[in-house]
């Protein structure tokens, strides 16, 4: 199994890099849309507002630079660690918010769809979480030693 996976890891890393770049570009085009989404999660406090604004500014660019790092190599492992930590936190936030929406609307969690601010518009929550788990695994492939 290990011998089968090892040759695939560089490719998994590159694919993950491309996915991050795609997500980041969608957010960078309209940064205030992403800022609204971050605010909507209610995780970061509204004050001091530079904290929320700073996160709204930095996250898409970190995602973009991280995507390029995964694709091209420089700082690949460090970018992989940061991106996997961010993705883990974001996926937990999506899960938390989708459970809240399901509870508020009294509907099945599997039917919950909302704009998660992930750069992909309105998504079905469980599908987004499943795709994030796959992306997380691919990002972990970037942590391998050279």
């Amino acid at each position: 199994m290990k011998t089968l996976l090892l040759p695939l890891m560089p490719w998994l890393t590159r694919i993950a890099g491309l996915v991050y770049i795609g997500y980041a570009i969608a957010k960078i085009i309209d940064p205030t849309d992403f800022l609204k989404a971050v605010h909507g999660y209610g995780i970061l406090p509204a004050e001091p507002f530079w904290l929320l604004n700073g996160a709204g500014i930095a996250l898409p660019w970190l995602e973009l630079l991280g995507g390029f790092a995964l694709l091209l190599g420089p700082l690949r492992r460090g970018a992989g660690l940061v991106l996997s930590a961010l993705l883990f936190a974001f996926t937990a936030a999506v899960l938390w918010r989708s459970l809240g929406i399901a509870s508020d609307l009294g509907q099945s969690w599997f039917a919950v769809a909302f704009d998660c601010g992930c750069g992909t518009g309105v998504v079905v929550a469980w599908q987004k979480i499943a795709s994030n788990v796959l992306l997380f695994c691919a990002t972990l492939a970037a942590l391998r030693r050279p």
Partner: protein, 170 residues
């Protein structure tokens, strides 16, 4: 032989470079986020602005078409949402880039007897944030501001009902 940087060392360098890069890139981005601006004023839920419903808005819209600037209807959403559909007679004032819109209409806003703001409805609070800024940053009287809380969602739902009653045309 030089040792490669550790995983944490690389991550730290990546974060420092990334944050610096993001601030520079945001500064030159035409729609960049202002670090020092409070986009989410605590206007809701006890905002104190007069709230109007769909029926009242429809009545005021009849005046809007005849009135010469006494009533202004502002759409607080973004230009893409506005282009996809808005309430007839509405003026686009994207709350998040209000500096691009308000100076041009500020004299009209200051003359208006009634300014109605709306966004999508539901969880959307952009209309409240805009109303708050119009009062506290642009000096409009709070009594002038009216918030159509149902927003475009309620407007479209009501219009659909009316249209169906009139023979199925939107």
């Amino acid at each position: 032989m030089k040792r490669p940087p550790s995983l944490l060392g690389q991550a730290t360098v990546f974060l420092i470079v990334g944050f610096a890069f993001s601030m520079i890139a945001n500064a030159i981005h035409p729609s960049g986020v202002e670090l020092s601006r409070n986009y989410f004023q605590q206007a809701a839920p006890e905002h104190g602005f007069t709230v109007i419903d769909t029926e009242e808005l429809a009545e005021w819209l009849e005046f809007l078409s005849q009135d010469e600037g006494g009533i202004l209807l502002l759409d607080a959403r973004g230009p893409d949402s506005f282009a996809l559909g808005h309430i007839p007679g509405a003026i686009l004032v994207d709350h998040y880039h209000q500096q691009d819109y308000i100076p041009a209409i500020l004299p009209a806003l200051q003359r208006a007897a009634m300014v109605i703001v709306y966004c999508n409805g539901g969880d959307c609070e952009d209309s409240l944030f805009l109303a708050h800024d119009l009062v506290y940053e642009y000096g409009l009287m709070p009594e002038v501001l009216h918030v159509y809380e149902g927003g475009l969602d309620a407007w479209q739902a009501a219009t659909l009902e009316t249209s169906l009653e009139n023979g199925g045309q939107r």
